[in-house]
């Protein structure tokens, strides 16, 4: 049972110092979680610390590959609106 960081991570460093198990480490192209050390903060904190400060929706997944911060949950931007805006920008 471990969390993982995927490619949408922007290497902002917010999670790294918070991990009670030092499971998060700086890596290229993005930070990674050492699955052997990660406990999902079980027994230490009510919420997984990395996922509680991560500003990027979808960057941290649980053991079932589900996003702990799904699209729209952090920025408040409805996903369809974001897709619309990005499509508009790319058309330019």
């Amino acid at each position: 049972m471990a969390l993982k960081i995927i490619e949408s991570c922007v290497n902002c460093w917010a999670c790294e110092p918070l991990c009670p198990n030092q499971a998060i480490y700086e890596a290229k192209p993005h930070f990674l979680i050492d699955a052997k050390k990660c406990t999902e903060c079980e027994g230490e904190f009510a919420d997984a610390q990395c996922a509680s400060i991560c500003p990027i929706e979808g960057a941290i997944l649980d053991a079932l590959d589900e996003a702990l911060n799904p699209p729209g949950s952090l920025t408040g931007i409805p996903p369809e609106r974001m897709a619309e805006a990005m499509a508009e920008l790319q058309a330019h």
């Binding site: 902002c12 917010a14 790294e16 509680s52 500003p55 931007i77 920008l89």
Partner: protein
Amino acid sequence: MELKVLGQAEPEAPKGGCSAGSCGSTDDQLSHLPEDIREKVHNHPCYSEEAHHYFARMHVAVAPACNIQCHYCNRKYDCANESRPGVVSELLTPDQAVKKTMAVAANIPQMTVLGIAGPGDPLANPERTFATFRALSEQAPDIKLCVSTNGLALPASVDELAKHNIDHVTITINCVDPEVGAKIYPWIFWNNRRIKGKKGAKILIEQQQKGLEMLVERGILVKVNSVMIPGVNDEHLKEVSRIVKQKGAFLHNVMPLIAEAEHGTFYGVMGQRGPKSSELQALQDDCAGDMNMMRHCRQCRADAVGLLGEDRGAEFTMDKIEDMEIDYTAAMEKRAQVHAAIEQELAAKQAKPQAPALVPLESLGGGSKPRPVLMAVATTGGGVINQHFGHAREFLVYEASAEGVRFIGHRKVDLYCSGGDTCGDGESVLGGIINTLEGCEAVLCAKIGYEPWEMLEEAGIQPNGEHAMEPIEDAVMAVYSEMLEMGKLDAKTDDQETQATA
């Protein structure tokens, strides 16, 4: 085609700085402050409007993490409002930051201030931030240190800040009401949890206010930055200004929201607009009260280097610094000399009586006051009109009135003429510049081409290249006097209508 500029053979303008008074106003912007505070800020480019023409500052980007989310910030590109470093910014370790600071301070002896402003929140990265301060207060004791924060972790950091001889702190305070706060901050990270909405905003506000009070108690100067978000906190910022002044903040800096869709921020994507220059100016005037507003802020990047409005960051990337050989002792001596020379120049300026710019106005005024006029000025610094219209990336806006000349702010524009192939886009860029100069009735520059001249005139903005290399305030007042003589200032006030018909 270039129009001939009259007065080009004028003798060289005084080196650096405006000729009379501060660039901020005919009155010294800091004159109302107690002596001990003046002493702390007189050579700080971000706090003293006058100092920013002479003294340089730099930021070191050692603080990547952030503990709150703002709707005007997208962490993918760093903060859109308070810095714009983007993905190319070089994140530094404290050791690298110290090395870079020493290298810059040796090469730019005008440097007085080292700040940490992100790209996240410095106090959300206390170890990296304080390691940098600790080393610098030992190795470069003549450099002032300052820090900019969202305030969430501030109360916990105040004592540590006080230890490192930091006498300036900037707190970004956008609201004092959690209802408003919930529209700006979707969440904060507090006591190991993410807290959303009004509850999170309430905690943030409490911490900011507590931090402000604690800093003031310890005699640390506090500047408050606020981002003006039309329809969200614009009216509310007057209340913010009143409260922070009451609690002892010494300067309030109201900045315009930057919300381009391509930044991917909540406000950008959701179509929240930024304020117009005239709206920003009106709010700054409303907030002014008994405390001066900061109007020369350039919303610089978290890794900016040099004078405000210029960025010499590219000269000091880590690989370039590695190759530099620096004699620290010699550099500090050089700085002391350069700073002393600037101080002398400033003192000489203050001792000089003001130019008698107002005399002709009084003699022509006929009892009623002429209306104030906004003018835009193209300058590369030094307090003189010395830039080609087409080369300007920003215009400084001044207000001329019967009371004198006062600095209103700067307005950024896209470069109209970048030469060669790109000139094809000139037309549309020029349209943008004209929009940006909304409200201005004249634009003063060193030179201007025929086409922009015509378009500006059509838009009701009079181009003027007659005051090239002259001190800004004198030139603005001269143009104002001319307008007065030509009867251009009569139209808009009631009592002058009567005067005109008399």
